[in-house]
Every structure is written in structure tokens, then in C-alpha cells.
């Protein structure tokens, strides 16, 4: 009964979405205030019914209702309750429902937290989001209904959740990633609404900027968690594979990064207007493309799960409608919103332009590498695959090109600046950084590594640029504390995010360069030494988990004869599916991780294939991503985005209505 209720709620949500994308739009066209004022209520309605539907599916999972097909295929009565909960989105149908739920959440958030928005604008934004909602709710209902029943012949128990997904990281990874993906729909809706209205000004950028920053921050967190999960759960210690599914989430991030920066120029200087709109369309289209790539199974991926091509077709058509439609609208209306502001070459505008060009080109190269196999296959040229070397070869030089400009960015002035001023500000700190970069790699025992020196130089350059700018801003204040307090949250957000980027550079390069990996055959009693850490293999024992049995290898790690840590990786066999899983054991640290994973038993004397890794600075990468996300969230706290709400509501609503009637 409950699943039918969920199904019914989903149908109602679709109906309300159809109303949401038609009535307010008609109202904004006809200047009908009543019709426009319906939009926020409809948005709340969609959220209520989507939530109800999602709750029903969750209930089915928690209650082990195996008559529901997705529950039978993706859950098991032995599964701990929190994995039953995360199993709701550990499958195609449920994850789409989550997509729809998060979209409804964002739509409702826009409806509730935008009192300063004129009603015409608000109704258009909500209508566009309603249209996206129609697409995804229809997709869910017509091609992948999560409430389909297995009647008659209810299985006695479920087939279990894929063991790889039985993990804490995977409980929160998809929701965060979707928050980011779907969050770009807000920026997209604002862009389309602006094109529809033909009005694009600094106020528009101010409305759409906080939403974009939050979406970008969520996406950053989601990607970070995915990378972290791959590192400890896939059992081979890698953290980024340039896998199509990873690229699917990375491309919207790259486009979103460009968007975040061009929005800054649009808000402060009224520049790059039509460009910003195009980027917003682009970022959301890439989110849809990402959904298509992941959900259709058209690409071979180490991440690929069983999927259904017919469903891919639906998203592809939807993607075509959304992207095609918005680009046509853009072509028709963009000339009306073009900016008429000039700037000189040596200015912050130019530096932001460099950022945009680099990130856009990076997006396109990743897009090309990801779609190349599909393209060749479609042309009948054979089945190619594009490996990580391609992506590294194009992506790393692009980022290296970015960093010199990025270091100057925070210091630079709008409109007109001078190279001489930059020299005066940055020459000495730059030389200090260069000295650090040349000497710091010497601390590492072993060969001098030029890549590491370069990474230290780049990261240091970013940090000294920020410090110099902080010093300039604080200089004229009465005290250091007073000066620091006066800085706005959005400025702090920028500083934190840029420091995060510097930390990520250090993490990525040092891990790649200094990692030591030994794959070897080990018997209990043997030991192996990496970077001064002696890994001693003690024995193998049997362990019983809630829904698996495992062989557990016990290791003790010594350094200079002192015990550092005990590690116990497992090889698990899950009872319901019979599938085998590697559970790595990691000792995490700020400067190094020690990683042990089991392969398979080898030979006759109880030996195992063992994977030992020493990974320095690997945490810096994720810490950097965390800082970037934190920076993104912080910008929203800025006062200019939340003027006195009650006053604004009275004043601007009326203004909006008057404007609408005029």
C-alpha cells in the first residue's frame, strides 16, 4: 500500500510541475499577477509530494518490502539499517528520485529565500526549474519507476546492495554530488529568465551568484568524496582515474568554476554578461550530460554499473531540448543583454578572462576526451578508449598556465592596473617563494624532483599573492584584528578557496611523485620496507561481519624499531551476492598515508598477494577540496546577498508587481 502511495505522490508531483512550468510563465507573459504569485506555492507543492514519494521508497527499503523490485534487487534483510537507507539511492531508479527530490528542494529554496526578487523574475525562474522537474519526474515515472512491484512471486530475501556501495562515503557522496549538479539548474534558470525578460544587470548577477557558489561548493564536496571513496574502497589506492564517470562530474565543475568567476565580473563591473549566461547554460547542460553518461551505460568505465540504453535515449532527448532550446533563446536575445563596458588589458577583468578561457578550454578538452570513444564508435571507426595520459598531458599544462595569473588575481584592481605595481607588490614575495621551491624538495630523501619544486613554486605563488593582498587591506586599519574583521565574508571565501586550490596542487603533485607502491607476494612472518616503514605480516584470521565473512591479514608497521600502527585489511565475501570485496586498511596522516590491501591467495604456503603503499601528502588534496567548498559556502554569508529581508519583501514585491502591471 505504501509504495502505491509513493507512486501516486510522484504522479501528483509531476502534475504540479507541469502547472509550475506553464501557469507562472503564462502569467509573466500576460502580466497576470495572480498566475505569477502561484509559482512559489506550486514549488512548495512539488517539494511536498516528491518528499512524500521519496519517504515511501525509503520506508519500503527500511521495512524490507521485497515485493518492490528495486528493494528486492538492491537490499537484503541482513543489511545494517543505514545501508538500507543509502540503498535508496544506490540504484538507478532511486537515484533519479533523489535527483528529482533535490531539484524540488532547490526550487523551493529559491521560492522561499528570494524575497528581494521581482515577482516576474521569480515566476520565470521557478517556471524554468519546473520545466527541468517535469523532465526528470517524467523520466522517473515512465522509464524507471521506483515503485514497480514483483507480483506475484515475492522473493524471500533481496539480492543485496552492491558491496562497493556499502560504505559511509557512498551514503553521502551521491546526495552531495546531486546537490551540485542540480544546483546549477538555479544558475541556468536565472540565465533563461534573464534572457526571457531581456534584462540582465548587476542585480541579476547578485541574485544568481550565491546560488551558483553554493552549487559549486556542493559539487566540489561531492567530487572530493568520490575521489576519497575510490581511494580507500576500490582497493588499489588510486584517487583519480580520468574515468568517464568521474569526468562526467568534473566537467560541470570546471564550467562552474569559470561561471563563478565570470559572475564576479558581471556583478562588480557589469561585464561579460552574455558570456556569463552562456556559461550558465553550458554548466547545466554538462550536468545533464553527466547524468546521461552515468545513467545510460554508453561508456566503458571502471565505475559502470548495469544500465539500460533506452533510458539514456530519454535523457539525450531531454538534453537536446534543454540545450538546444536555451541556445536558440540565447541566439535570439543575447544581443539585447550584451555589455557596453570597457577595460584595459592590465586589469582584474583580463585576469578573470584568462581564468574563463583556461577553464573553458579545460572543460572542452575533457569533454573531447570523454566523448571521443563515443564519436569514433558512432562513425564505425572502432572501439577506442582514451586513457589517463591524454588527460594528464592536456590538463596539467592548462592548470600550470592558470596559476601565474591566479596569483596576481586577488591583488589586481578593476578596470585599470599597472604591471609596475604588480612588480612592486610581488617581486620580493615571488623571489622568496622561488627560493622555497628550490630548497624544499631537498628535504625529501632521494632524488631532487623538479615537478615537486614546480608545485611548491605554484602553491607558494598563490599563497603569497593572497597574503600580500591581505596585508594591503589590513594596513590602514587601527589594529590587525580590526582590519581582519572588516573584511567581508565573500572576500574570506575567495581567500580560503584559493588556499584550498594551492593545497590541492601540493597534494596532487607530491602524491603522484613521491608515492611508493609495492605489489608483492607475502607469507605470514615476512616483512617489507617502504620509505623507512617496515610492514610486518603477522597472520591471517577469519572474521565474521553482519552480512559477510572475511579473511583478515594483520600487519604491524614499525619505524626505527618502534611500532607505528597495526593495520588489518580484509578480503570479504558477501553472503547474499557471493561477491568478493577488498577492504583496504589505511593509517591516515597529514604528511603521509600508509595503505595495505589484500589481493588473492597465492601459492600453497598461505601466501597472499599484498599491496603496500606509502602515499605522502595525499590528504592535502582532499583538504584542499574541502577548503574550496568552505570558501564557496562562505561567500553566501555576505551581507549584500541578504539585505533586511522583511523590508525588502514589502518594498520589492510591490515594486515587482507594479513593474509587472506597467
Amino acid at each position: 500500500m505504501i509504495p502505491e502511495l509513493g507512486h501516486f505522490a510522484l504522479i501528483l508531483a509531476l502534475c504540479l510541475s507541469v502547472l509550475l512550468c506553464t501557469i507562472p510563465l503564462w502569467g509573466s507573459w500576460q502580466r497576470n499577477v495572480t498566475a505569477m504569485a502561484l509559482a512559489p506555492n506550486l514549488a512548495i507543492g512539488v517539494l511536498v509530494f516528491t518528499t512524500l514519494s521519496f519517504a515511501c521508497l525509503t520506508w519500503a527499503f527500511l521495512q524490507d518490502d521485497f515485493s518492490v523490485e528495486v528493494v528486492a534487487n538492491n537490499s537484503n534483510s541482513l543489511l545494517p539499517w543505514y545501508y538500507k537507507f543509502s540503498a535508496v539511492w544506490g540504484n538507478h531508479e532511486g537515484s533519479l528520485l533523489l535527483w528529482a527530490l533535490i531539484l524540488a528542494l532547490w526550487t523551493c529554496a529559491v521560492a522561499v529565500f528570494s524575497p528581494q526578487l521581482p515577482l516576474v523574475m521569480l515566476s520565470r525562474v521557478l517556471a524554468v526549474m519546473g520545466f527541468v522537474g517535469v523532465g526528470f519526474l517524467a523520466f522517473s515515472l515512465f522509464t524507471s519507476n521506483p515503485f514497480a512491484r514483483l507480483l506475484p512471486g515475492i522473493p524471500a530475501d533481496g539480492q543485496d546492495l552492491n558491496p562497493l556501495l556499502q560504505d559511509f562515503g557512498l551514503i553521502i557522496h551521491p546526495p552531495l554530488l546531486y546537490m551540485g549538479y542540480v544546483g546549477f539548474s538555479v544558475a541556468f534558470a536565472f540565465a533563461i529568465a534573464a534572457l526571457l525578460g531581456g534584462r540582465l544587470d548587476a542585480a541579476w548577477a547578485r541574485w544568481s551568484r550565491p546560488w551558483t557558489n553554493v552549487a559549486w561548493a556542493f559539487l566540489t564536496l561531492g567530487i572530493m568524496l568520490g575521489s576519497w571513496w575510490a581511494y580507500y574502497e576500490l582497493g588499489w589506492g588510486g584517487w583519480w582515474f580520468w574515468d568517464p564517470v568521474e569526468n562526467a562530474s568534473f566537467m560541470p565543475w570546471l564550467a562552474g568554476t569559470a561561471l563563478v568567476h565570470s559572475l564576479a565580473a558581471t556583478e562588480k563591473r557589469g561585464l561579460f554578461k552574455s558570456w556569463t549566461v552562456l556559461l550558465a547554460i553550458f554548466a547545466f547542460s554538462l550536468s545533464l550530460l553527466g547524468t546521461f553518461l552515468v545513467r545510460s551505460g554508453v561508456l566503458t568505465s571502471v565505475h559502470a554499473f548495469a544500465t539500460d540504453p533506452a533510458r539514456g535515449m530519454f535523457i539525450l532527448v531531454f538534453l537536446g531540448i534543454v540545450t538546444g532550446g536555451s541556445l536558440v533563446l540565447y541566439a535570439l536575445r543575447a544581443p539585447a543583454v550584451a555589455s557596453r563596458v570597457s577595460f584595459t588589458w592590465i586589469s582584474r577583468e583580463s585576469l578573470l578572462l584568462v581564468n574563463n578561457v583556461v577553464f573553458l578550454v579545460a572543460t572542452l578538452t575533457v569533454l573531447f576526451g570523454t566523448l571521443f570513444p563515443l564519436l569514433m564508435d558512432a562513425l564505425g571507426q572502432g572501439k577506442y578508449s582514451v586513457g589517463p595520459p591524454y588527460f594528464n598531458a592536456v590538463f596539467i599544462p592548462l592548470m600550470a598556465l592558470l596559476v601565474p595569473f591566479m596569483g596576481v588575481g586577488p591583488l589586481s584592481r578593476w578596470k585599470r592596473d599597472s604591471v609596475r605595481r604588480w612588480q612592486a607588490e610581488l617581486l620580493v614575495p615571488g623571489l622568496v617563494t622561488l627560493a622555497c621551491a628550490l630548497t624544499l624538495p631537498l628535504l625529501h630523501t632521494g632524488d631532487y624532483n623538479l615537478w615537486v619544486a614546480l608545485a611548491v613554486l605554484f602553491a607558494g605563488w598563490l599563497v603569497v599573492g593572497l597574503l600580500r593582498d591581505l596585508a594591503n587591506r589590513v594596513r590602514n586599519s587601527a589594529s590587525l584584528g580590526a582590519g581582519l574583521r572588516r573584511l567581508t565574508p565573500s572576500y574570506w571565501g575567495m581567500v580560503i578557496a584559493h588556499v584550498g586550490f594551492a593545497a590541492t596542487i601540493i597534494g596532487v603533485v607530491l602524491t603522484s611523485q613521491y608515492t611508493i607502491e609495492h605489489d608483492l607476494k607475502m607469507s605470514p612472518g615476512e616483512s617489507d620496507t617502504l620509505a623507512g616503514y617496515e610492514f610486518r605480516f603477522i597472520d591471517v584470521g577469519a572474521v565474521q561481519g553482519p552480512n559477510f565473512v572475511a579473511d583478515e591479514a594483520r600487519f604491524v608497521v614499525y619505524r626505527d624499531g618502534r611500532e607505528v600502527v597495526r593495520l588489518a585489511p580484509q578480503k570479504r565475501r558477501y553472503l547474499a551476492s557471493g561477491s568478493v570485496m577488498t577492504e583496504a586498511s589505511i593509517d591516515a596522516g597529514l604528511f603521509r598515508d600508509l595503505f595495505v590491501a589484500m589481493g588473492e591467495p597465492v601459492g600453497v604456503d598461505g601466501a597472499w598477494a599484498i599491496r603496500l603503499h606509502y602515499k605522502p601528502f595525499v590528504r592535502w588534496m582532499w583538504a584542499g577540496a574541502l577548503l574550496m567548498a568552505l570558501g564557496g559556502f562562505m561567500t553566501v554569508a555576505d551581507k549584500r546577498y541578504r539585505r533586511q529581508r522583511t523590508v525588502a519583501r514589502e518594498g520589492l514585491r510591490e515594486g515587482g508587481v507594479r513593474g509587472a502591471q506597467a
Binding site: A306, T365, K521
Partner: protein
Amino acid sequence: MHPVRKQRLWLVLFLVVFSSSAIGLMAYALRGNINLFYPPVEVAAGLAPVGQNIRVGGMVVEGSVQRSDSSLEVRFEVTDYEAVVPVVYTGILPDLFDEGQGAVAAGKLDENGVLQASEVLAKHDENYMPPEVAEALEASKSRMAEQSGEQGYGQ
């Protein structure tokens, strides 16, 4: 020239130079780093290049997996039920690698027709079959069906 136009000209020039160098870089990077998939029947027929990075995929032949006692070397064979390609790999195999399951190995073919694999692709899901493998098996199945059909006709 009008300063705004001049600025625009420089901008366009910058974009052209930058994007063409990016495209050049991409083409260069792509040339050495893509690899083509071959079904076992094409490898056996000598259609696959020797010494270049390729991928070969099919079902792992039952009973073909042999592990070395002293190192992590593994030998196995993949088949599309028409031809068999031997594969040598040193390292730790993915969890879901098993006899009678689909697998894709990436590496270089040596003179003896043995694939020296540098990577064996994992799948994450019991029900998932790499699309190339599925297609290669489908193709070989239809060819065999055709052949047996012809034989039947001849008799």
C-alpha cells in the same frame, strides 16, 4: 583603429592562438594515448598490431587461469568462443575477475601473439558486462549461427 575594436581584435587573436595551441596539444596527446579494442577473433587473425597499446576482451576461459608460485604473474586466456588469446599480467587482479566472466585486458601484443597486459579492467557489478565484450560475443555468436545454418543447408 577604434580602441574598442582594437581590443576586440586582440581578444579574438588571443583566443585563436590559444585554442589552436590547445587543439594541437590535444591532438598530440591523443595520438599516443588512445587504444583500440580488438575481439579475440581479430587478434588471432593477425589484424591487431604488435607492440602497440590495444585492448582485448572476452570471456576468461574456464581452467585457463594459472598463477606463478614465486611472483604475482598470472596467465589466462580470453575468448569470444571463436578464437582464444593468451594474456600475461603481473600484479593484483580486480576482485570480480574470475573464470567464465567477462574481462578486458589492456596492453601490448608480443611476437608470439601473447598479450602482455599492463591493466586488467575491473567491473563493479555482477550483472555488468563491458559493452565491447558484449558486442564482440554477440558478433561471434551470430557468425557461428550463420555458419551452422549454412552447414545445415549444405547437408
